[in-house]
Symmetry: C2
Subunit: 133 residues, 2 copies
Amino acid sequence: MNATHQDLTRNQTLVLDTLAKADGPLSAYTILDRLRGDGFRAPLQVYRALEKLLGFGLVHRLESLNAFVACAHPHCHAHGLIAFAICEDCGQVDEFSDAVVRERLGAWSADNGFKAEKTTIEIRGHCANCAAA
Amino acid sequence: MNATHQDLTRNQTLVLDTLAKADGPLSAYTILDRLRGDGFRAPLQVYRALEKLLGFGLVHRLESLNAFVACAHPHCHAHGLIAFAICEDCGQVDEFSDAVVRERLGAWSADNGFKAEKTTIEIRGHCANCAAA
DNA sequence: CGCGACATGTAATGATATTACATTGCGAAG
DNA sequence: CTTCGCAATGTAATATCATTACATGTCGCG
């Protein structure tokens, strides 16, 4: 039942490949523009593909950027909670996960009777390379 | 140099009061609509006030909602890192902070030479009340 | 075949945010 | 007191992000 890369439709494949080839997050409209040559005409084509890809865990949405990235670790499914470090200079995104953080946020939820569905952690700042410059 | 409530301009005060009276996050355009009677005509009036209030730490932006809330603890300045639990049913937002989480994310940043400027933590889900129903 | 489920195509619109430029109010320097 | 400069404000236009509504296509299966 977990969708694999094989199950992707043409549009989903095109969108995922576009994100995978990009060196950073892309907005839905940027993806659209890059796929005009493949017949994409409307935002909805992109949003629909993204919706599925997000569900499959192959793509992440960066809320603070209103943009999307291909998952850096598409193989290890069931990665608990993911955090992103986003460089405001070069746009590079580093994806990581921390068991302790997951545990602490889980504990807070349990203590407060909160049923967590989705957790967003995004650190905006400057990566090592750019901070050096 | 830390701005106090006294220093706020008329527009900033109106926007902050609107958020403080609201029972949940408001979008910039909702704030605008609520302040039409006070002479607000354009989005920029709201965005400019919000920009300052965010800088003062009196207001937070919820990235996953594209909306804003008044800070729940406007007195304790220098609150390290803040997390939000957002109920998707009733819209209530719970603001909390966790030293261990801050520490872990800080450690990751240090290990990776990343200079963090701003960290966003948002948990979407269902609050105790709504989960019960 | 004919139906159902899902993916797709297209247009229009809604929602969020910024750019550009004009104006006003007010304190400090001269 | 006047002029300068700065910050806040006002207004219009536009850019950017996302969804709703409706029509069409594709393909497996009874």
